[in-house]
């Protein structure tokens, strides 16, 4: 799940740290509490994924907030967000779909499923539909090889045994939600 787009620091207009609601900060705090007091940085993976769940992607301002909150250098947060494939460093469609195309899945139509969705949605692999609803990406092994074809929607929801009919149903279901807020 490589992300070719990256957020970049505009040095002439340095970003301001984002703000988060008490509810979200409580979720950050719950992650921090898992680790020793002097190791808050350990929570950065989970906090970044919470940010992405809430905002759809991770912005430089979000990274600045987490750097201060977790008492680590902003660059150390950026090192993490750029290393792991699932963090979105730029806005994506309302629904990001990652289709596993690794060999075990490829043997069971994983690549065919990706091609089908690409054609159905009229969007190239890695692209976002014009209405901003769907982003389509290939994925590496999701550890669900026996469920192939398998895909992830917005990082947290796995869909298994995705035949053509089920992909049609899934797209129909998600398309109907275009005006709803999303919490994956």
């Amino acid at each position: 799940m490589s992300s070719t787009q990256m957020n970049s620091l505009d040095l002439t207009h340095p970003p301001k740290a984002s703000e988060f609601s008490d509810e979200i900060v409580a979720r950050f705090a719950r992650e921090v509490a898992k680790y020793p007091n002097d190791q808050k940085q350990s929570a950065v993976m989970a906090c970044l994924s919470i940010v992405q769940q809430v905002n759809g992607f991770v912005s430089p301002g979000d990274e600045l907030f987490l750097a201060a909150y977790l008492e680590m250098p902003p660059m150390a947060v950026h090192e993490v967000s750029t290393f792991y494939n699932m963090y979105n460093l730029a806005p994506v469609g309302k629904f990001k779909i990652n289709v596993c195309t690794n060999l075990p899945c490829q043997l069971r139509d994983g690549q065919t499923a990706l091609d089908y969705l690409s054609k159905k949605l009229g969007v190239g692999v890695g692209g976002t539909t014009k209405d901003g609803l769907f982003t389509l990406q290939p994925g590496e092994c999701m550890g669900a090889c026996a469920d192939a074809p398998v895909m992830l929607v917005n990082d947290r929801t796995m869909c298994s045994f995705m035949s053509t009919e089920k992909m049609d149903q899934m797209i129909e279901t998600l398309s109907a939600l275009k005006d709803d807020g999303v919490q994956s």
């Binding site: 993976m45 494939n85 994925g139 550890g143 469920d147 919490q183």
Partner: protein, 452 residues
Amino acid sequence: MSLDLNSVLSGFRASGDQTCFHGRHIKPQILDGLNGINWSLKDYESRGGYQALRKILGKDGGEGLTQDQVIATVKESGLRGRGGAGFPTGLKWSFMPRQFPGQKYLVCNSDEGEPGTCKDRDIMQFNPHAVIEGMAIAAFAMGISVGYNYIHGEIFQTYERFEEALEQARAAGYLGNAILGSSFNFQLHAAHGFGAYICGEETALLESLEGKKGQPRFKPPFPASYGLYGKPTTINNTETFAAVPWIIRNGGQAYLECGKPNNGGTKIFSVSGDVERPGNYEVPMGTPFPVLLELAGGVKGGRALKAVIPGGSSAPVLPASMMQDITMDYDSIAKAGSMLGSGAVIVLDETRCMVKSLLRLSYFYMHESCGQCTPCREGTGWLWRVVDRIEKGEGRESDLALLDNVAENIMGRTICALGDAAAMPVRGMIKHFRHEFEHHITHKTCMVHAAV
């Protein structure tokens, strides 16, 4: 208004019926009696769960076990690491400096991303308390008070299931301070990755757990002396921990007798690819491959078996002729020139082009190389590009020698095993299916389509 995608898309969620509750295991221990609904603590207890922890703490009338007795039992069982390396678990536990006065850590490696492997997901989804109990026993044996289970980021629903199970175990007094009224304390937490195969490598996993990019560390020092936050740390795979309660309840000898000498117990094999019933199959170590294939419904569509990658994508491929005589255990597969690895059995039928198959794997290793070591960072790109041009009919006569040379220059020259894992499939494919690669180079086309 917010909506919950897990509910909206619940109709597409895997039930486990196909992969786990098919009733096609042989003498199962970890996956025995599961149905998808009975994952919670009460159900686990009714299957005999947490009896092993009670036994070692002397809470069921017995005297309890000492740390040495627990480790001796695990050594006797012949349990070997289920994550891929197959290192004897009891021996690993004995490396932990138990008398170290500072904090020590226990880590479960659930970063299951080796292509073909999908067993730890089913274990944590459908029997999470087996992992929790196994970790608590391990923590007791090594005098550890804090543990983490690092779970693959792609299986977020399973991560949430595991967190729910942790809450149940804490509420029941199986985790936390003064467990079951004893002097044993153990805090266990769940953490998650977010899309990096390399974090399945244990020291990369530790870096990730520390909130850093997952680049492996030099070894030595090994985690047993310098692990999480620089403290002594023991890391085992999910399935390894899940095997422990059975061993404590039934004894090391009984576990060993389930399998073969030096290859104790059962193993969960994830069978994927060209079979009728892809899924997880828990069978005794040493089960003949044809039996496993039969459990998985045989080759899809009744076609002929061409090859098997027996232990996850990093394991060298073996041709069908060799697989017929193999038993599924560490020693037998190693003798055939491959490895049992994580127990991921990728089946390829007669219609599969080996060049194309290798191409996808080579892309994967290039994509997932962490970039730290030049031979791997550059070499995996070379492997992919050369296989790619062979597949496209642009291969050169010298390319097979080139692939071998690049593979040789990666192997043994990197900090971690990802370099070797990228090189071994290339060498295995060329060793056993050289004629297919040569045909691609000479005729600019695939020989499989012509033959089938």
